[in-house]
Symmetry: C2
Subunit: 406 residues, 2 copies
């Protein structure tokens, strides 16, 4: 199925925001790629990080002269039950995929290889759902597999079965090199995701607009430690509360836990309850969720109002929330999990610590030193500007395309 | 709009469940009403207690020979914003309804008086939304206003405006006599609502089925105090937790808080958070909500598994959850609010206490006396059988109809 409706995007809109060097490089390389035909294939055109990213990256590619299409798989709902299992197994879950399930997986991939319009110079296949399309059909295009999930410790049996389908790819793109699969190391490229500085979650806001949001949610005026994270066990929000409590002994701060809940996720609700009950009656711990009207724009305002970011996740695919917080000029104190290590430079734009006591010490260090916060904040924003804005992301794609067709 | 699809209902299905005397009376009186044409009018055919009730009562009326129709108003969404305000004001909220709003209210009522098929011997109008239809048209049928809301302390200005429209009614039906309006006392009838013993929330369940639910939600095997109530301030769940804590000092019990959340109710979420945080880390307080898969059937099983019901609401329209709990053979300890007083007979099938210490004492009294629990439980179930099953409700309607046409 072709996705045809896009927001207007133009590279020019990023002139005052992105790194000029990045924009120059894009100009230069895109001259060599004019008219190149690229098609992105993924599993959904709505919901989830991949679709969100494609809504930005596809129109941006077009705006630099690449003839870019976006095709979405068509499949019955059982297929997505199977690929959800596949997704979990590839991230390490101990579960089995039956022969029948593999067969259905292949059948849908085979059908989609015929249904979708894949006529292009380069095909970028996103994630495991459509990954077997090239293997099951005759395609003469250059083939890229763009993997958005954590492949650092996959379920081996499932991986052995699944990785057969990957043999036709020329390049594979992963958030961090930690996810490079042993068998495909030589064609793997470190390829972090990005944030869009023009989106509601990241665009500039006036002080007045920020304070309107802060007032609406009755957030008091005091030093503010902010965690943005879903209610899932890997985010370890209990540790965020513990760190806050250690700091609170010495300093009158507040902890804002900014989160979103999906209504169809019973495990999320169980976890939501646990965290709320762990927080107990302390008024200086505030929960700010979609349930009470916190959307992208509100997250943006809250991040801009914050003194410091905290991120206690013990496992993290990439952790773009860290870049989002740094983009607002705030240092981030975080655990060195997954892609967080690529964003936070310890002692430069934040601190990386595993231990809760040490996290608390790092928070206190920054709280009492306004100048350090300012310096860290500026460096953090620059780091994001150079590496984790969608323009850098676009450049990374163009470089891979250029390499493939040269 | 005519509601045409109904579940199958037959009075015969209630033979082994309802009070034989009630069924006999229904038989007798319905002979005199054969062919009577009745139409119910309300604001919605989906969602809410009134629609739920009509889905049972309309087919039951038909099954005893009454030619019963159900008509649902048609109106733009702004109308329902106005009637929501009207509803809140009639329950005591301090707010104003503007002249424009009254005009829209009348306009929609006037239009519906033409659109709806109101040709019948008796018209039963439910709640304030369609209440002005008879006033704004020429209707020769007998007119009943069935009010499901708490009219004990209405906003006077709004009531004065609204009550003008009520002058055409011959009878008014209220959950309890506390809600009789001074101006209409002589035509008001105490008319409690009812539960359907054949619905998922109340039908019989085998021990095996009950334990399957209990196991699914990991509910431990220990004496169980259960509150069923929405997260709204009037339910005072904080007091329920306080009462549990007082009892817990002497006795190893658990508190189950069974509740449902609507996604579009930000105030509900704020309250949900408060109650969870008030409960803190005590594992013996369990929250069982629709969010984790607790539906009607699960509520049924949990009530059947419980040792005692607790109901701490300080304001209560009627409180059918009390009858639901009593129907499962459990005594209920409750505050004597609104319709709860009609259901719980103090010292007979439960206890009525305002004070938290006294509520805790009543709970302890019943916890340590199994025989008393059994006796109270049997009496409670009988009380519901005679008064608060849908069959008694049907009989109440038939009696009013008979009185009107005699």
């Amino acid at each position: 199925m072709r996705v045809t409706e896009f927001p207007e995007k133009n590279l020019k809109d990023y002139i005052d925001i992105s790194d000029p060097k990045v924009l120059e490089e894009i100009e230069e390389i895109s001259k060599k790629l004019k008219g190149l035909r690229v098609v992105h294939v993924n599993a959904t055109n709505f919901g989830g990080g991949v679709a969100e990213l494609l809504y930005t990256i596809v129109p941006l590619m077009r705006s630099v002269g690449i003839d870019t299409k976006w095709e979405v798989m068509e499949a019955p709902s059982e297929f997505f039950n199977i690929t959800k299992k596949l997704h979990n197994a590839l991230q390490g879950a101990k579960l089995k995929i039956s022969d029948d399930e593999w067969e259905s997986y292949m059948k849908v991939n085979k059908e989609n290889s015929k249904k979708l319009e894949l006529d292009a110079d380069i095909i970028v296949i996103h994630d495991p759902q459509p990954a077997a399309i090239p293997y099951l059909s005759n395609i003469n295009s250059h083939l890229i597999w763009r993997c958005h999930i954590d492949l650092s410790s996959p379920n081996e049996i499932v991986w052995n079965e699944f990785s057969k389908f990957l043999k036709t790819y020329e390049k594979m793109l992963f958030h961090t090199e930690e996810y490079f699969p042993e068998d495909f190391k030589e064609i793997s490229i470190e390829f972090p995701p990005s944030i869009d500085p023009l989106s509601e979650k990241n665009f500039e806001m006036s002080k007045k607009e920020i304070l309107e949001v802060i007032k609406r949610f009755s957030i008091p005026n005091k030093p503010t430690l902010t965690v943005v994270a879903r209610f899932d066990p890997w985010k370890d929000l209990f540790s965020a509360i513990d760190v806050y409590r250690m700091v609170k002994k010495y300093s009158d701060i507040q902890l804002l836990i900014v989160s979103a809940m999906a209504n169809d996720d019973p495990e999320g609700w169980i976890f939501f309850e646990k965290v709320l009950r762990y927080a107990g009656l302390d008024d200086d711990i505030k929960f700010l969720t979609n349930l009470i009207g916190v959307g992208s724009r509100e997250v943006n305002a809250i991040q801009r109002y914050s003194t410091l970011g905290l991120h206690t996740a013990i496992k993290e695919g990439f952790g773009l929330v860290v870049s989002e917080m740094m983009w607002k000029g705030n240092p981030v104190v975080a655990r060195p999990a997954g892609g967080v290590k690529m964003q936070v430079d310890d002692g430069e734009n934040g601190f990386l610590r595993w231990d809760k006591e040490e996290l608390a010490e790092a928070v206190m260090d920054l709280l009492k030193d306004k100048e350090k916060r300012t310096v860290f904040g500026i460096k953090g924003k620059e780091k994001v500007r150079r590496n984790f804005l969608v323009t850098s992301h676009l450049l990374r794609y163009l470089k891979v395309f250029h390499e493939l067709i040269s």
